[in-house]
């Protein structure tokens, strides 16, 4: 049976992991490669590296980092942040990333999804959507949630799929950072609407939230950052718990 995936997300700035980490006996907390290996050893199914650097110099550093991750980590990983055109995609895939995640660029230029799918295959193209629940609608936002758009979650996700997206990474801005669970109702609708995998993001605070994202939200994968980085939830413990709850996970 296809396992539900657990995906830690690492924010990287100038080659260093941004959010703090709290692992016992873990010395290189800031090193994204070491941290990725550590998550992989604990049983993470995939990794996401998000480049939050704004500068050109930082982009180069990130590409070098992607090469190191590809050399040392033996599970799939996705990279995102600052991908605006095909040459960014080409650079990151050539460096060894398995998938790229595009967000604002996909909304500004939806043809980018088609270009990626045509040149590298659908499986490479993750379309990330940041949406906020307002006036009974899930409105999509640009630039890390700062700029509202006239696109809405369900129709935009469907369009992205039709254009060739291989996966949808849906972050609920309404739930993100609140630690009270994922947006399960919206996830469930999204998962039923689409025939590509849906990754849940935003809202994880405890183990039960992951279970609910899979069982109530019908998500194919769940992404989280701080609960893993701060050691609040261990990936191995989480997977043991999920297995007991009847969720198929890779042990």
């Amino acid at each position: 049976m296809l396992a539900k995936r657990i995906i830690p997300c690492l924010d990287v700035k100038d080659g260093e992991t941004v959010k703090g980490v709290n692992f016992v006996n873990f010395r290189s907390a800031g090193d994204p490669v070491e941290l990725g290996k550590c998550y992989s050893d604990q049983g993470a199914d995939e990794l996401v590296y998000l480049d939050i650097t704004a500068s050109h110099e930082g982009r180069k550093t990130f590409t070098e980092l992607v090469k190191k991750v590809a050399a040392q980590v033996s599970i799939p990983f996705t990279v995102g942040g600052g991908i605006n055109e095909m040459k960014d995609v080409d650079r990151l895939l050539s460096a060894g990333a398995d998938k790229v995640s595009i967000n604002s660029a996909a909304i500004r230029n939806p043809n980018l999804i088609e270009d990626i799918a045509k040149n590298f295959g659908c499986q490479v193209c993750v379309v990330a959507i940041d949406a906020n629940f307002e006036a009974d609608m899930w409105r999509c936002y640009l630039n890390g949630g700062r700029v509202p758009t006239d696109k809405y979650l369900f129709s935009w996700a469907k369009e992205a799929q039709e254009r060739g997206a291989g996966e949808i990474l849906f972050t609920s801005m309404t739930h993100d950072g609140v630690k009270e669970g994922y947006a399960n109702e919206a996830l469930n609708r999204l998962s039923n609407d689409l025939n590509i995998p849906v990754i849940a993001s935003g809202g994880a605070g405890k183990r039960e939230h992951f279970r609910d994202a899979f069982i109530k939200g019908n998500a194919d994968a769940a992404l989280a950052a701080s609960v893993f980085h701060f050691g609040e939830i261990g990936i191995r413990d989480l997977k043991t718990y999920l297995a007991e709850e009847g969720v198929c996970v890779r042990m």
Partner: protein, 196 residues
Amino acid sequence: MQVAIIKYNAGNICSVENALKRVGVTPVITDDKETLQKADKVIFPGVGEAASTMQYLKAHRLDELIKGLRQPVLGICIGMQLMCRHSEEGDVDCLNIFDAEVKRFVPTPQERKVPHMGWNTIEQLKSDMFPIELEKSFVYFVHSYYVPVNKNTTAVTDYITPFSAALHKDNFYATQFHIEKSGKVGEHILNHFLSL
């Protein structure tokens, strides 16, 4: 030991190179006939589309070369599919090492999502390509086409339908899953292949 990776117009070749380096082997990536024939092991990896990659192989005379190899050869993902008789992807005749047809997944109401992407188990392990303790281990898949279970099947995975997760015939070995992205299990299988 000399391990050669076949160089052709498919993606993902550097992932296999990285995986080999992690287990202590530095491969050569080449389309040179003599180098490939002389290598102790040959790996035929890739992510891509069947018809266009097959066309490339033919244009570069790699098709006959691959079929004629005598050392252990390992096909991965599209590499495995190209080693079959025919693929529905682009309706193309392939290398015909394995007498099997490559078909597209037809989604069911229970398992609707194509590609089959993520970690799934390999079962009913046969042949010397797998250490027996790997029965029911999770490995990483990304594919929209599959090879039905046939007489060369050496591992079965169930998604939409039971399909061939691996094939073996004579000196030809192949896996539908990405050995190079399958964590410790993948490294185990890779090491085992290198020891054949």
